[in-house]
């Protein structure tokens, strides 16, 4: 007799019998996440940011200023310096070339979010696949792949990244590729460790004796058990990727000017911050809020998926 039968045999005195349902770990995690206030706030902030980026064109249209339009008459003072927020219809002020900062921050959000998310996606896929293969096959394949990961992790990555970018000339695609290349090894190493311990479990042995192919065991049996830590790693990798992209743009090696990017705008502001505090402030705030939101969300996701784990942020 199942629990549901019992419930129907003995109806409660307060009302009709309710069937008892077990909840899967995913549903439990989702319930925990929904109750977490920081998670909800960060998720809302991220959604707003994405909307801000997606509707950058609309914002530009409403403001009447394109992201690369320079307004030397209304956007610059008589001395050729940027005008402050609120003047002449520039909600957040202008930069040193008379361009609307609000619009440029909105378009910069597109670059940051796109590079951050896509490079994380690529790094995660590469890391998971290579980690799985290394951990599952062990032996020579594992040694070779593990050493490869160690070598990649030993590279002076910022230096090499800027060297790579300089050879191939800055662009969004190069930024994504470079960031993904230096991030996959961290995920790969952890996935490999988890796979090494998981493959000793009985269910893998059972699948093997049933005649399942290696590929099937890896992707149908092992992978679902890895999804939780991988999700946490990926969510926490996004802010690192965003900061990496901002740093590249700051050094002049991210997206090519005049395309708007947060790091590039902050870099341009270095000569003008004394007379134009709004110039570095707004892209800076945008960058900070984005990274904070993703970091908080990542920590909350980790808490939701495994509440017993050591928490960096005490609730």
């Amino acid at each position: 007799m199942s629990v549901t039968d019992l419930a129907q045999v003995a109806p409660s005195a307060t009302g009709p019998a309710l069937a008892v349902q077990g909840r899967s770990p995913w549903q439990l995690a989702w319930a925990r996440l929904r109750k977490d206030k920081t998670a909800i706030i960060s998720a809302v902030v991220i959604v707003l940011l994405v909307a801000f980026a997606v509707f950058a064109g609309v914002i530009a249209h409403l403001a009447g200023h394109g992201p690369n339009d320079q307004f030397h008459d209304t956007g610059l003072t008589v001395d050729g310096l940027p005008v402050g927020p609120g003047h002449h219809g520039f909600l957040l002020g202008t930069d040193n070339l008379g361009r609307d900062i609000l619009v440029r921050v909105a378009y910069g959000a597109r670059i940051s979010l796109m590079v951050g998310v896509v490079s994380t996606l690529l790094a995660t896929v590469a890391g998971v696949v290579i980690g799985l293969v290394a951990g599952y096959y062990r032996g020579a394949i594992d040694t070779a792949l593990a050493r490869f990961m160690d070598v990649v992790l030993a590279f002076p990555f910022l230096l090499f990244a800027i060297a790579l970018v300089s050879v191939f000339h800055p662009s969004v695609a190069i930024s994504i590729g470079v960031i993904a290349f230096f991030s996959w090894a961290a995920i790969g190493r952890i996935v490999r460790g988890q796979t090494l311990s998981l493959r000793e479990k009985e269910f893998v042995e059972a699948a093997h004796s049933l005649g399942c192919s290696d590929l099937r065991i890896m992707f149908v049996d092992l992978l679902p058990n890895l999804v939780a830590p991988v999700i946490v790693l990926a969510t926490l990798l996004i802010p690192t990727a965003i900061v990496f992209e901002a740093t590249l743009s700051f050094l002049g090696l991210g997206v090519a000017p005049p395309t708007a990017s947060w790091g590039g705008t902050i870099s341009d502001s270095l000569s003008f911050y004394r007379v134009a505090w709004w110039f570095p402030l707004f892209p800076g705030i945008a960058l900070l809020i984005t990274t904070l939101a993703f970091n908080l969300l990542g920590d909350s996701v980790r808490d939701a998926l495994d509440p017993t784990a050591q928490r960096a942020l005490a609730q």
Binding site: P156, L158, L159, T247, L253, G263, N295, A312, A314
Partner: protein
């Protein structure tokens, strides 16, 4: 133990070799305009060919690589295209600046980060813990250049307007010239680099110490009647610091190759800023030299840390 060191050193050499090949392939395979730039606008094709020949750029790639490795083994890092000086001299003259920046910041972030982490671990969920959490979060989310900019704006510009000139925003005074000025010019860069890194260390120390304080031997020490101070600092911290030491070696090694962003924003003419200049002017020998130097420091840092770890924890000596 000796075999462990030898094995790790060999692996380090392998990494350095792979980096050298990667760097070489990257730069010598793509056609470069060096000869044309050096020759100037009015250079004839004959002049350009001559420059190419002098620089050895018209020989087969394998020959160039062989020549490159041969010189490397003799400690010769090449000759800069644009600075008219050997790369080695250019890099080594800038190394003290980077070293001053990194070691000064390292002391601050190690002491600060560990102190905050210990405080947070001793009283979980207290105000101190929540404060440290905020600190960790800000440090993790703040890019170095943003923090540097904030410091420059508030501690330099604003104070300057108020007539206080304690924290210069740029420049480097050598230690041998004037120790007080040396430190004064480095305060803001030290703080910038240290605060961002300290956040990671505080989180690492906190989680590591919390884990260690839950162990049985700590309970034994407490029940033996030892003071809380002795338990936490003498017994707990010793084991809790191993991952911190590991991370420290890696971080110092990585940064010695050039704390690029910090040097750029504070105008410190260290290895990092020099490498960015070289990249922007496509000065290949310098770029190769800096990448190899950085890789060297990372490998050495990793090696020292691995050996230290093996010394501290005999189970690691595989």
């Amino acid at each position: 133990m000796f075999r462990f060191i030898v094995r790790r050193s060999l692996f380090g050499l392998l990494v350095l070799w792979i980096v050298s090949v990667a760097v070489f392939v990257l730069f010598f395979i793509t056609p470069s305009n060096v000869a044309r730039t050096l020759g100037g606008k009015l250079a004839t094709p004959a002049t350009i060919a001559l420059i190419n020949h002098r620089l050895g750029l018209d020989r087969p790639l394998i020959a160039q690589y062989g020549h490159f490795v041969w010189r490397l083994l003799h400690g010769d890092l090449g000759y800069s295209y644009y600075n008219s000086a050997p790369v080695r001299q250019l890099l080594f003259s800038r190394l003290p600046i980077t070293a001053s920046l990194v070691f000064g910041a390292a002391i601050i972030w190690l002491v600060g980060g560990v102190a905050v982490g210990v405080l947070a671990a001793r009283k979980p969920r207290s105000l101190a813990d929540r404060g440290s959490t905020l600190f960790v979060l800000t440090g993790l989310s703040m890019p170095t250049f943003l923090l540097g900019l904030l410091f420059i704006y508030f501690l330099f510009f604003r104070l300057h307007l108020a007539g206080v000139d304690w924290f210069p925003a740029a420049g480097y005074i050598p230690l041998t010239q004037n120790p007080a000025s040396w430190a004064q010019h480095l305060i803001l860069p030290w703080l910038t680099l240290a605060l961002v890194t300290a956040a990671t260390y505080s989180r690492l120390t906190r989680s590591s110490l919390l884990e260690v304080l839950g162990e049985d031997y700590i309970r034994t020490a407490r029940s033996k009647g030892l003071s809380e101070q002795a338990v936490v600092y003498k017994h707990g911290l010793r084991s809790a610091l191993t991952p911190v030491v590991t991370q420290f070696g890696i971080d110092v090694g990585t940064l010695l190759g050039g704390a690029i962003v910090t040097e750029q924003i504070f105008g410190l003419g260290g290895v990092g800023q020099f490498s960015v200049q070289a990249v922007l002017t496509q000065d290949l020998p310098v770029i190769i030299g800096t990448v190899l130097l950085a890789a060297f420091f990372i490998v050495v840092g990793n090696l020292i840390v691995d050996v230290l770890y093996a010394v501290l924890d005999p189970r690691v000596r595989l």
